[in-house]
Amino acid sequence: MERPEDADREAGDGGGGRLMAGEWTSGLRRADDTGAPLLLLRLALGILFVYMGVSKIADPIAFLKGIRLYDMLPETPPYFLNGTAIILPWLEVFCGTALILGLWIRGAAACIGVMLAVFTPAIFLRAMHIREAEGTPFFQIAFDCGCGTGEVVIWSKLLGNVGLLLLAVLAIVARSRKFTLAWLLRERVAPPVA
């Protein structure tokens, strides 16, 4: 019996037009089952967000001043700006750490996704304001977005954030639970009795 993938190989699959949807998803599932893709996603997102969170915790005043520049939160009462400045960096650290450890993966990735979904349009809007106010062409606009990375060229920051958002979505969708803390404890520290 001819296997579906054989038909694809014979057809010369260069353009990708002959892939069958079912085989594609089962291929992705097989990849996911190895545990490697999700591990890479977790480490990439996790380490990045821990780093960004820690750099904000190190200088809370700079972050407070940074958020204010977005004009998205009211200045009075002060709880909104101050609360965000205090809490958000720690949320980044917690989510990043959870991802690295493989704990609450979907929740952590979803939190990160929400943060990115809020920050990215905010950065874009601020860039548009600058374009209107100063007339700088969009691709030359650069400012300190308050992300913990200093001054950045905005179009590449936006592109990067969209990429990160995609990674977060993939981390949510993936099913493997290998290489997590729980898995380690189960498999290595207390393996099931044969």
């Binding site: 917690f94 609450w104 929740g107």
Partner: protein, 228 residues
């Protein structure tokens, strides 16, 4: 559906845990006098409310301060002749155009006036006081000669020392980075709140950016007698 519920629960748990640790950490830092945020404090109050509340005289001052920058300079307005120019200061086009500076209700001084204040022997005797509204890193990297530091975000550390001098001074010039930096405005508001009369406060809008771009003399902590 179960996966969605579980994900939402995880998100809530993460947020609650992060909030608890964040508030505890912030409180601990405050307790140990490290950099922290006082959650109920409005750090961005320019002080207009206080100035208005000080009475009808102050309303006039505020009205003067709301005029376009050219009219806002009471020292220059009353002086008949040009203030002495600091020798060696070329006048390159490095100052920001006036409309790039944020709005504020305080009196301003120009670069030339600040230069003559720095040069004035009375300044070292305490008649005039220069206040640097930037943080430690910036201040330690170089500040205007004789300027004392008053970081708006860490008032507790600096206010008492500065107030002691400010109360004795006739003219207090506050500056920060220049451009659209507003920290000098907030420091003026802090000084008014602490009882310094409005009339003795002046903002140097050009700030550190303009002063250093014009290659004016600066000093660092530990290398001069006047600054602390």
């Amino acid at each position: 559906m179960r996966a969605v519920k579980q994900t939402l629960a995880e998100m809530v748990l993460l947020t609650v845990a992060a909030t608890c640790v964040a508030l505890a950490g912030n409180g601990l830092r405050a307790f140990r006098s490290g950099p922290s945020i006082s959650i109920g404090k409005n750090y961005f109050d320019k002080g207009e409310g206080r100035i208005r509340a000080a009475g009808p005289d102050r309303e006039n001052q505020f009205a003067i301060a709301s005029q376009p920058e050219g009219d806002r300079n009471p020292i220059e307005a009353s002086a008949r002749s040009d203030p002495p120019k600091y020798a060696g200061a070329a006048v390159p086009a490095v100052s920001d155009p006036p409309d790039q500076h944020p709005e504020h209700p305080y009196q301003e001084v120009s670069f030339d006036q600040v230069a003559s204040i720095v040069k004035d022997p009375n300044t070292a005797m305490g008649v005039n006081l220069l206040v640097d509204a930037r943080n430690d890193a910036a201040y330690n990297d170089g500040h205007l000669p004789g300027a004392v530091q008053l970081d708006h975000y860490e008032l507790g550390r600096y206010l008492e020392n500065v107030l002691y001098r400010a109360k004795a001074a006739e003219k207090i010039v506050v500056y920060c980075n220049g451009g659209d930096c507003e920290d000098s405005i907030f420091v003026c508001a802090d000084l008014i709140e602490a009882g310094i009369p409005y009339d003795s406060l002046y903002l140097y809008a050009g700030g550190w950016k303009e002063w250093s771009a014009r290659k004016m003399p600066t000093e660092k902590p530990g290398t001069a007698g006047a600054g602390d």
